[in-house]
Subunit: 248 residues, 2 copies
């Protein structure tokens, strides 16, 4: 058995799955573990939708920009910011809910979604399953909302494929830890050399794993973070009732 730290340190994403279902009790245990994760103000404003239906998973694989592992993995879990649930409580207490109109509420929901996502990933790893997190559902959040029947004041922020792995990927190297960990104050001085070293290291990693067209980190992220964002996230958030006033 692997220790918890071993599990955390050996994280890798799996994009090929065996044709073997995840037993009900295994899935229940994973979901129960994530259900116990903390939330801001104990709001419990995260919900998940477990999708096993093959047609629905095929549709999600298209929504996420043609990611075939979503159709292949037996389980997909959508992680949802759920201010519908909390709104019922706020109204019960005689107030009108306002969190959906604030940038802080958006951050709070997304952070807590990340907490639940990581709890699901760690629990799945502990059960011998492979996973890959899927941010691509935000390419077409309205399609996810329609598919999962999500009510107003909810938003599907991220998803997760889960199943028995059909591959044992080599772990992708990380940029040196000095680029992640700072002590007492942020120290930017080591970043340029860390990035240069990592650009070389990850190209070597791609070569070693037969993906010789793999890009250096700088070039790869430039393709995502250095282009105009075309995802209709703000529009769909607004349609769902997140009437965020960015001007405070």
């Amino acid at each position: 058995m692997h220790t918890t730290l071993d599990i955390l340190k050996s994280h890798r994403s799996v994009r090929a799955y065996r044709d073997r279902p995840v037993p009900e009790d295994t899935l229940d245990a994973i979901l129960e573990a994530a259900w116990r994760a903390p939330s801001s103000f104990n709001a419990q404003e995260i919900s998940v939708v477990v999708v096993r239906d093959p047609e629905r998973r095929t549709r999600i694989s298209q929504i996420a920009g043609n990611q075939p592992w979503i159709a292949q993995a037996p389980v997909f879990i959508a992680v949802v910011i759920d201010y519908h649930k909390t709104g019922l409580g706020v109204v019960k207490a005689g107030r009108e809910q306002q969190i959906q109109g604030s940038v802080d509420g958006l951050l709070m929901g997304a952070i807590d979604a990340g907490i639940v996502l990581e709890a699901l990933m760690v629990a799945a790893h502990a059960e011998g399953l492979g996973i890959v997190p899927i941010g691509g559902i935000r390419r077409d959040p309205q399609a996810m909302i329609d598919l999962l029947g999500l009510p107003r004041l909810t938003f599907p922020v991220v998803g997760l494929c889960m199943g028995y792995p059909a591959q044992e990927p080599i772990q992708k190297p990380r940029m040196e830890i000095s680029a992640f960990r700072h002590d007492e104050v942020y120290d930017a001085s080591a970043l340029p050399s860390a990035i240069d070293a990592y650009d070389i290291e990850i190209v070597e990693h791609w070569r070693r794993t037969d993906r010789s067209n793999g890009l250096a980190w700088s070039e790869a992220i430039a393709n995502y973070l250095g282009v105009p964002d075309t995802r209709p996230v703000a529009e769909v958030l607004r349609q769902q009732g997140f009437d965020v006033t960015w001007d405070g």
Copy 2:
């Protein structure tokens, strides 16, 4: 030794810490575990600042709205969305970074911050430490930025106290799992009764733990989610260069 699922399922927050430092190698192992967590597009856009200096922790306890456990716990870790780091890579690749101007970029950073936060919490639990996550640093993010010397294009979204527990809190009950887990499609029908049952259960929990002034869930969240948001999050994000266009 506890299994990973036990650790996840027994999550609780600790708000009283022993006067005992966290050994360097323990802290290193916890940070190394969180460093290996996945990030969107492998952007590695999360950084952490480890704060052990007592004066600095006292200042953070004030920033977070007078939370004395921040001054008491030997370690505080600030989790930071770091588009400064990624920006260096994007510029190196000859592009101009744009992610800081999109709502999707904000969600991505906050989700990945939540992933790192949960990895830190799980690793700390595995090492026998207590923790409590701190969203209250967003009450005055500019003060955190000044204190930690955070550069433009970064934002401190959440923090974590860590140390050896001086209390063994009873785990807070969760709303029944049907309010968290949905299968195939979202089913809102069970929520009202789940909320009613939970409001009763948590008041009993407060009574059992000698916090007889504890509120029902509905009333408690109404005090946070049913009031105007006064945190200057949007303003400080903008000052940090997150020129988000909410109108898409």
